[in-house]
Amino acid sequence: MADTADGPDQTLLRPIAETGRGFYWAVALLSIPILWGALAYSVQFYEGLGVTGLHQPVSWGFYVTNFVFFIGISHAGTLISAILRLSKAEWRRPITRMAEVITCMVLFIGASQILVDLGRPDRLLNVILHGRYQSPLLWDATSISAYMMASLTYLYLPMIPDIAILRDRLGKRKLFYSVLALGWTGTERQQRILNRAIAIMAVLVIPIAVSVHSVVSFVFSMTLQPMWHSTIFGPYFVVGAIFSGIAALIVAMIIFRKAYGLQHYLKPIHFRYLGQLLLVMALLWFYFTFAEYLTGYYGAEPEELKVFWAKFTGPFWPFFWGMVLCNFVVPLACLVSLKHHTVGKVLTASLFVIVGMWLERFIIVVPTLSFPRLPFPEGIYWPTWVEWGETAGSFGLFALFYLLFTKFFPIISIWEIREGREGLKEVEERLITYLPDEAEERT
């Protein structure tokens, strides 16, 4: 049946089949921040971390912030798509792939932030040679690599049928696709195994994802430092992660919807659902933030308060209140009603959330370090062009990866859409099972 992939889904193959001027423009555009980042890092590699704005006592800054942020984004995909799959939410079909791709791409970017932050990247191997499992950094290494593996598999499995389609329909890269397609012919048996595998991965990936951002938070909460040493950091970080993840997903969807003309696939309804999900996360995030800061404030431990006020009214107030605006006020305003201009509103909210979540990570990392317990000079940290460059480069690289992916694989799962179409009957039956039995009603 693989050979009958004609009809409406042509649009999904077009970006792979032909490459327009737009693509080259995009690549050119993205290469600017990427080159800037490359230059920045090479300078840092030879000069040492001294070229950054870091100092005594602010020994962590942009890089660690980016690390937490990107790993957070990574929760977009896999987690969301897994949840939707398991809950058999039909509207998921055009979304899951996009989500999973985000995860895989951003995980690499996120993990590499740590490498960039090292004073001696040349000694990275020591982590394996002399690894000390007591250190949360190793917990991170472990669960992030696990997450990477899982996500890649989880991305790859549902792609097999589509790759087969590409192998058969597409003129070019025959060898490449046939290898990846693993001789998929779409027999009942293959289909069954595949669905099974996908289901298992979906279950597997959720706890791993949750673990990832919990241990990321442990990097901070395991220390004794004011406003880091907190028990709710685990869930707090996970919620934030999913929050930013959804936002990132929405932005990606809207971009490709426009670029590849996927309006028929990604309809306002999808955005309305995701928007509502985003709203829920915004409320959850606010709840955690509130709880976290209230305990700090109420406990009124002098060191805690020093940092607390530094964020509320002190040198960090623009970042803190900026965060509240981006993560709560704006999303609330945009998302309460999505009857009209759904896409526009959801996009605005998402963009703000992305900025807001980055600020949140920053406001967690830096102020605590800037206000030591002992009477030290308060170090106010300001990043240099190197850190800006590295950050811009990271975003650029992420975008480029994503773009390239869409040039090789359909960004929307063709077969799942089709399965959706064909499966309408079955879905209907399933829906009926949700409802109370008529027979019983009569009696």
């Binding site: 001294g50 020591n126 950094l137 430092q225």
Partner: protein, 227 residues
């Protein structure tokens, strides 16, 4: 097994920084230069902190010399992913410069900011340096070692002279220099040692004791009072 510790009498300390400079000379601590200094990157294993108490609206000032407090339960060692900083059996918290990957996690974890980072290559081997202490490369963390090399030398000496090693022979550079004799060093596990006696003084207190890091650098308060 000895448990090395230090008592610093704040009533005597004049904030002169002799300990700071003695430490720099003894441990090959580089001057980072004007630009770096203004970027707050001065390396000072021993650092004299100045506390101005608010009630007297800055009228009163107090000097607190702060080496690495050699915590008995050090938050800095746990977080090191590569065992580049660890507590040795005699309670000295050591750094392995050759292994440190420069993640600065230990810096973030030390509640006393006793760790310092080599943001650049600040010095090469050169004249005037102490051959007993290695010169640190860029990208690694360093801190007060309780002048561990002096312990090793003292032991070697005792061995060579075929006699028991006497703890009094092990004196860190800062304690040796202190012109107000405010720094007393010795074996806390030996109840009759001077340092142990002072540590029991009613004036004795520890920095951020509530954190449970169990510092082995103990302070004596200023002003009247026994001890």
């Amino acid at each position: 097994m000895a448990l090395w510790g230090m008592v610093i009498d704040l009533d005597r300390c004049t904030g002169c920084q002799a300990c700071v400079m003695a430490c720099k000379a003894e441990n090959n601590i580089p001057a980072v230069g004007e630009k770096e200094a203004k970027r707050e990157r001065i390396i000072s294993w021993m650092q004299v902190l100045t506390e101005t108490d608010e009630e007297h609206h800055g009228e009163k000032m107090r000097f607190i010399p702060r080496p690495c407090l050699q915590c008995d339960d050090p938050p800095c060692t746990k977080v090191c992913p590569v065992y580049a900083t660890y507590r040795n059996p005699e309670g000295i918290v050591a750094q392995i410069y050759a292994r440190c990957i420069g993640c600065r996690f230990c810096m973030a974890a030390c509640p006393y900011n006793a760790k310092y980072f080599n943001w650049h290559t600040y010095q090469k081997e050169g004249p005037g340096q102490n051959p007993d202490v290695s010169v640190r490369p860029k990208g690694v963390v360093e801190k007060c070692t309780f002048c561990h090399h002096r312990l090793q030398k003292a032991r070697a000496r005792a061995l060579a002279e075929k006699r028991d090693f006497d703890p009094r022979e092990y004196v860190p550079a800062c304690a040796e220099a202190c012109l107000a004799q405010a720094i007393v060093f010795g074996d806390l596990s030996d109840p009759v040692s001077e340092v142990a006696k002072l540590a029991r003084s009613p004036r004795a207190f520890k920095l951020q004791e509530e954190l449970g890091t169990k510092p082995k650098v103990i302070y004596l308060t200023e002003g009247e009072g026994g001890g």
